[in-house]
Amino acid sequence: MTYQRPNFRHPDAPTNPLGYTRRDYEGSISTLCAGCGHDSISAAIIEACFGLPLEPHRIAKLSGIGCSSKTPAYFLGRSHGFNSVHGRMPSVATGASLANNELVYIGVSGDGDSASIGMGQFAHVVRRNLNMTYIVENNGCYGLTKGQDSATADRGSKSKKGASNPYEAIDLASLAIQLGATFVARSFSGDRHQLVPLIQAALSHKGFALLDVMSPCVTFNNHTGSTKSYVHVRDHIDPAPVDFVPIRDEIKASYEAGTTFEVRMHDGSVVRLHKDSGQEYDIEDPQAALRAIAEHEQAGRTLTGLLYIDKDAPDLHKVLGTSPRPLNSMQEKDLCPGSKMLDSINAGLR
């Protein structure tokens, strides 16, 4: 069941510069387990879109299948959503984006949806640099089918029944960098201060933005021995703080010289990173990013934050040279070459 919220609006609810309240970015009531990390990510998406701000109806939400993929029903109720088939959201998002380059595309997937059944499509949407924000709600298991290990489960992580996972984990963030992703970030559903600005930065990026978000499954993978439990994740992350400064805000906060560096996005907004917490490397250098991720991992830690960015790479529309006018708005006069042209084609076939 999906529960609809009562249509009630608080008269003094704060509005964003577009005149929308936070309520305008909410969806129907979640039916996920209480405490599921995925719900915190939905809340962060709402916050990010409200804050940027984006017009809710100019966003399209796409997902595959899984508990995570259900969540688009729980945020942005004024946006169209497409809950597609297991592991194939990237292709649907690609088609949607080709049809209309003017909308903002948010994809939500799970670790099963992306790293197992959807690995092929994940790899290819990355290398095409589709202009979208792609969030993997990573809980190390298949929540919806009751907790089987996924391909992102760490080697040695224990299942609820105590079995140790014998297989190497796939790290989607490193993989994405290797495949040529142009924005790669990692975060934790419980770290809203980092997650919200990261989502905002991802939404401002013109190209493929991956957010690999650790998002514990309280029902099947939150026990002692699991490396994706709340406790374990909280104890083992090295979060690099991120600020996101939207275009309209001049930069107010002042920082000690040399402690931060800034990435100015194409839309004029700014992502500010803090040069502590071990993120001293050049985030525009993919090899440095991969090294940093690996070094933290070897130390038994997980680096979170914006890991890598290439803000100048052309997105798929640019590569294909498609018209700036959305293809779905084109009419007969734009698309049908007419009978005269056909006559000349016929003539050439005689």
């Binding site: 069941m1 999906t2 609809q4 129907s28 017009e55 809710p56 109806h57 100019r58 399209a60 796409l62 688009p72 029903a73 109720g77 004024r78 946006s79 169209h80 959503g81 497409f82 809950n83 597609s84 088939v85 194939r88 990237p90 292709s91 649907v92 998002a93 690609t94 088609g95 949607a96 080709l98 049809a99 209309n100 003017e102 909308l103 092929g120 499509q121 790899a123 290819h124 529309h317 294909l320 040279g321 498609t322 018209s323 700036p324 293809l327 779905n328 084109m330 007969e332 734009d334 698309l335 049908c336 070459p337 007419g338 009978s339 042209m341 056909l342 084609i345 016929n346 076939l349 005689r350």
Partner: protein
């Protein structure tokens, strides 16, 4: 020895090695006959290989306008020693065997009931050319030149075709013409020209073939062009024979006709996807977002697309798919033709699904039905699968010219735009059957700030697109989808019916590339006195006309190119009038196109003498002569 005598009515077959450039010479040969106004149907019989294996090209010349494969060979042009033994056997008694006589022929290959024409191709090439590549390529032109003398093909026509072909590369014109002349001179000097079989402009051509301004075109090119005219803007595909050239043609025409000359910006997007799952996913995503989109594939790709087709059916997304069929199952015979994806396409995906199917029979119809497919998909908000096959898709076919009406407007179906949503008084229900025809209204992402948004899903939902597991809501929705499929019968193209010269209770039913040989078989049988009605099916679901035809006949031969009689099964499943007793299967599934001989043979043996009227009597009573 008896030598076959026939004007404008014979079969020439070329036996080549693939990868040796024979294809363009062979098609030059076919096109020259076409340019002389004589009905011709060339077809490639090729291996799934790039270089070195035997490949054949069969050209049927038929003044009656029979374009199906005839079977049998009257003149074999054997340029491939590898396949010589079997090529000799294929020649019909009284026929001709032209071979490279540089080396003497193996005496075991000499038959006493056919005529041998030794043309020292290799020797001529060695003498004329020093470059190895030239020796290989011009060999093909030399035998075409020889054939022009042997069959009386007008030499000027060949010269004109060469000039057309090398427009912009004029340097190549005279060497090619020289090679043709080498062959022509040799033949004139050494053979008795023309042979008993030959072509003749204006010679007894059937009126329906000489009246129309025919074109020579392959079905896949016509399909790709149809998608341009149908307004497709997004095309995603994964290479697979024999459908690849649909995608290539679409892209080629788009680069000619869909790029803004000022800005260089493209009014289309083509993506070569990582596989067919992704290809159909992109098509569905684009269609969901309001762009006309399509993909083209063949059997294995159709299998992979199953899950997504079920989604498009259930979530009601306009989806256009072209399946150029080849011989299955599995990889089967990837370069041979069949009509064996009928059931897989009709019921693609798990659960209760049914899809609209279209069956074009000519390039002109590949073009028009592709345009139609986009209208149907958007009108009905469901997948539309156009089924062609290798025979139609990859061979040059004589066809009436392509037609397009400039008054044509896309039928975008029931879409509520921002304005319509603004005016909407009641709550928008994506799956609410307002009009009672099973087709509901959809909205596109971004259309309106507050109204019309919903989540598209493959899970069960209520009239307002809200997820539900309520059994009644599910059943209501499934029943509405069935009602929509009923409604589809009003929109899909009706069959073409060709009644016999006199009333009969016997009929035939066929579709796609089975049509040409079936019509030919019916003419043969008519000559023998059989009266048989014909229905050429053009779409599934079956319309009223199909039901009526089945109802009005006692025996209907369902002619198709697969083992299991898949269309017969579909009819038994889906038509109210079809019965096992009525529908008799006539099938061919060896990977080569079905022939009129095969069809006529089956029908004749099944009917025995029944239904035959004395021809003389019939002629006088109907006052009509057989064409």
């Amino acid at each position: 020895m008896r030598a076959k005598q026939a004007v404008n009515d014979f079969v020439v077959k070329f036996a080549n090695v693939n990868g040796t450039g024979s294809a363009s010479a062979n098609s030059l040969f076919a096109k020259s006959i076409f340019r002389m106004g004589i009905p011709v149907s060339p077809r490639n019989i090729f291996p799934s290989n790039i270089q070195g294996l035997p490949t054949w090209y069969e050209v049927r010349v038929s003044h009656k306008g029979y374009l199906g494969r005839r079977g049998g060979v009257d003149l074999m042009v054997c340029v491939n020693p590898q396949s010589m033994e079997r090529d000799v056997k294929d020649v019909e008694p009284g026929g001709y065997f032209l071979y490279d006589s540089t080396k003497p022929i193996d005496p075991r290959l000499v038959r006493d009931d056919i005529n041998y024409l030794g043309l020292p191709l290799t020797e001529i090439c060695l003498r004329e050319y020093t470059d190895a590549r030239q020796r290989l390529l011009f060999k093909n032109m030399i035998y075409v030149g020889a054939l022009s003398a042997l069959l009386e093909i007008e030499f000027q026509v060949l010269k004109d075709l060469i000039s057309d072909q090398f427009k912009g590369k004029e340097k190549l014109v005279s060497p090619n013409i020289h090679a043709l002349e080498l062959g022509h001179h040799y033949a004139m000097k050494h053979f008795e020209c023309p042979l008993g079989i030959r072509v003749k402009r204006g010679g007894d051509i059937a009126p329906h073939m000489s009246g129309v301004d025919h074109i020579l075109m392959d079905g896949n090119t016509a399909t790709g062009l149809g998608a341009v005219y149908g307004g497709a803007t997004v095309m995603a595909w994964y290479p697979i024979t024999p459908s690849t050239s649909v995608a290539e043609a679409f892209e080629r025409y788009c680069t000619r006709m869909r790029i803004d000359p000022g800005t260089g910006q493209k009014n289309y997007a083509v993506v070569q996807a990582e596989d067919e799952l992704s290809a159909i996913g992109m098509v569905i995503g684009a269609a969901w977002n309001g762009a006309r989109s399509f993909t083209a594939t063949s059997g294995p790709g159709l299998s992979l697309m199953g899950e997504f087709l079920g989604l498009a059916y259930f979530a009601e997304i306009p989806t256009v798919l072209v399946d150029v069929q080849r011989a299955g199952p599995s990889t089967g015979m990837p370069t041979r033709t069949q009509q064996s994806d009928i059931l897989a396409a009709a019921y693609a995906s798990h659960g209760d699904t049914k899809h609209v199917l279209l069956f074009p029979a000519t390039p002109a119809e590949c073009f028009s039905l592709t345009v139609n497919a986009f209208d149907l998909a958007e009108r009905l908000q469901t997948p539309v699968i156009m089924l062609t096959d290798l025979e139609l898709g990859m061979n040059d076919c004589m066809s009436p010219p392509l037609e397009f009406d400039d008054a044509y407007r896309f039928d975008r179906g029931k879409v509520l735009d921002g304005e319509a949503l603004d005016k909407l008084q009641s709550r928008f229900g994506r799956y609410l059957d307002v009009d009672g025809d099973g087709i509901t209204y959809r909205t596109l992402p971004g259309a309106h700030p507050t109204k019309g948004a919903f989540t598209t899903r493959g899970t069960s939902r209520d009239d307002y697109a809200i997820y539900t597991e309520d059994g009644d809501a599910y059943v209501r929705n499934m029943d509405r989808l069935l009602l929509k499929f009923e409604t589809a019968k009003r929109y899909v193209p009706a069959p073409k019916i060709k009644p016999a010269a006199q009333p009969t209770r016997i009929g035939t039913l066929f579709f796609g590339t089975t049509a040409s040989p079936a019509y030919e078989a019916l003419e043969i049988l008519e000559e023998e006195g059989y009266a048989i009605d014909a229905l050429r099916l053009r779409a599934f679901p079956f319309t009223r006309e199909v039901e009526q035809f089945i109802d009005e006949h006692d025996t209907i031969f369902v002619i198709e190119q697969n083992r299991d009689g898949q269309m017969r099964r579909l009819l038994l499943n889906e038509s109210n009038c079809a019965t096992r007793e009525k529908l008799v299967s006539v099938v061919n599934y060896d990977g080569l196109p079905i022939t009129a001989r095969h069809i006529a043979g089956h029908i004749r043996s099944r009917l025995g003498g029944a239904n035959v009227t004395d021809i003389a009597q019939k002629r006088s009573s109907s006052g009509r002569t057989m064409a």
